[in-house]
Point group: C2
Chain length 329, copies 2
């Protein structure tokens, strides 16, 4: 008993000693610019009891887009990278793919040919690579892929392509009793196997697009089969719907990087009371990629106009971030 | 600083002093029967580090059906009670309901007439009472209704119709670092406004049936409109699918009371490793209701047969529960 008390007391003393966090220790990969200050000011206000900006712990919900907000989405979405590799893996079982689009273009390494297939091509590609197995099998396939698959430009593991300043931001929010969620157009079951390791976000806090699953018995064993049918698209106006469906509370903090996040940012800042919206603006062509209004991936146009009008924070990756990737020299 | 340390130390001492919980303090509304022992044995095993039944905190997921498992579902589902009242409230705006089923029967207080309408009648009824407003408006309507609506037999508020032993069980599991979820056929947005107050379960841990919502602007204000279209039915084989979609982890503990929970109980006990399934068997016609295989509401037939075969715990409400409702004399 006494040992227990002493151990607990030590823990408490350590905690108390660690309390005064100096400004320069917060978000160390961020430069000391207005962007960083605005984030810190908002968080401080939400945790200051009695203050006008105070928010109860249970309402400190923070939502983050994933592609282009937490990890790199260029030269193509990481999930598309998965699809391309998967087609090549499965090709021997599908001789018909040699002449059938979009599979033919993938097997020929012709990315433009895939793009010519348009939306229908991508849906067909998604279903061919994401359906037809159980949820457990898909989890294993995705986990295995992430353990080895590499980014086409940097040659780093995809799992190394996360933005260090954003991971620090997630930690900082959680240290202030925010609950952090992913709200992404990506597939829920594509993301879940790695989100906890990458961002400290557990499966139940990953909101994304879903396909229909069906309960079935394989012998005596119940499984869920992934059917080739879209259930829910968590993008654009689907993001507030997804937040409402999965979380059931309005966020007070939202981060995105493209027009696909626009409605989520509106939703977050429309509530009575505190609401903070931020956009990660890809301005660093040297360390990462520079793109916005004209990009086919992560197009940022309407939301960029609206950001100014609505006083949303636009983070300039080049100037606001000291480091982008942890692997930088 | 010193005051802070002292306050923390006091908190720690209180915690330590409170540690030894004696068996008779656990689940006080349960009789000292085998049912109670089996639950306690399972929970103790999951938290015993190094033991064969140990489960890491993040995997201690417990799922609970709601109707008939946590609160009373007789003589009809509480959500049906809401629909009936809602039709009466809205009737002046719908003169056509006077001659149109299932509305006519409701306005005539003819419950059998509603039943004659079958499943389509119930869907139409659901849409007429659950759609056509924003999510915020629906939340208010539901909250207002729960503040006054009463159970037709006991005359108590519906919110008093929860089972005290089950609330103790939820508390007990949470005290052992389980995360508790509702997984119900009921509407998510019908349940969420009251689940936290009744069971300590926050909105993001309520899984249920959903209707399609649509993002829209009302002037400058973003809202979600509830459309008269079913999105997902979280019942029967839909329950494992709902668990996978919303939670993304397999539960290790599941409680239900009807055949609609059968697949969830199978799913929970099929995983490699620990899995506990229990069925609340309605055996007390005096204090509550007695029903199982022949009941149109909460039919328990297949799952009761399977319970024996699979060694699921069947809780006998009459003999295993000292108290059912907190309001009992």
């Amino acid at each position: 008993m006494v040992a227990k008390i002493l151990a607990s007391l030590t823990a408490v003393l350590t905690l108390v000693a660690a309390q005064p966090v100096f400004a320069q220790d917060l978000l160390p990969s961020w430069n000391d610019t207005a962007a960083r200050s605005r984030i810190i000011d908002f968080v401080k206000a939400t945790v200051t009891e009695g203050g006008a900006g105070y928010v109860a712990r249970e309402d400190r919900i923070a939502v983050f887009d994933n592609d282009g907000t937490l990890w790199c989405e260029q030269p193509y979405y990481i999930q598309l990278g998965f699809m391309l590799d998967r087609v090549k893996t499965l090709a021997p079982q599908h001789p018909e793919w040699k002449t059938k689009e979009p599979f033919k273009s993938i097997l020929d390494d012709d990315l433009k040919g895939i793009a010519r297939g348009g939306e229908m091509g991508v849906v067909e590609l998604g279903m061919a690579t994401h359906a037809g197995m159980t949820t457990d099998e898909f989890n294993r396939i995705v986990s295995d892929w992430f353990s080895a698959a590499k980014h086409p430009k940097t040659g780093r593991l995809y799992t190394d392509m996360t933005y260090l300043p954003m991971r620090e931001l997630l930690d900082y929010l959680r240290a202030n009793d925010f609950t952090t969620y992913i709200v992404s157009g990506g597939g829920v079951e594509f993301m879940r196997p790695v989100m906890e390791k990458l961002y400290g976000i557990p499966p139940q806090q990953v909101v994304g697009s879903t396909i229909v699953t069906q309960y079935a018995l394989v012998g005596e064993v119940p499984v869920l089969k992934r059917l080739p049918k879209v259930d829910f698209v968590d993008d654009g106006p689907g993001k507030p719907a997804g937040i409402n469906k999965f979380i059931g509370r309005k966020p007070i903090f939202a981060a995105g990087n493209s027009d696909g996040d626009y409605e989520m940012l509106r939703w977050t800042t429309a509530a009575n009371g505190p609401g903070f919206a931020m956009i990660v603006h890809h301005t660093d062509g040297d360390r990462e990629y520079a793109y916005d209004r004209q990009s086919s991936i992560g197009k940022l146009d309407t939301a960029l106009d609206e950001a100014e009008r609505r006083n949303w924070l636009v983070v300039d990756m080049k100037n606001d971030w000291k480091t982008i990737f942890a692997f930088e020299p």
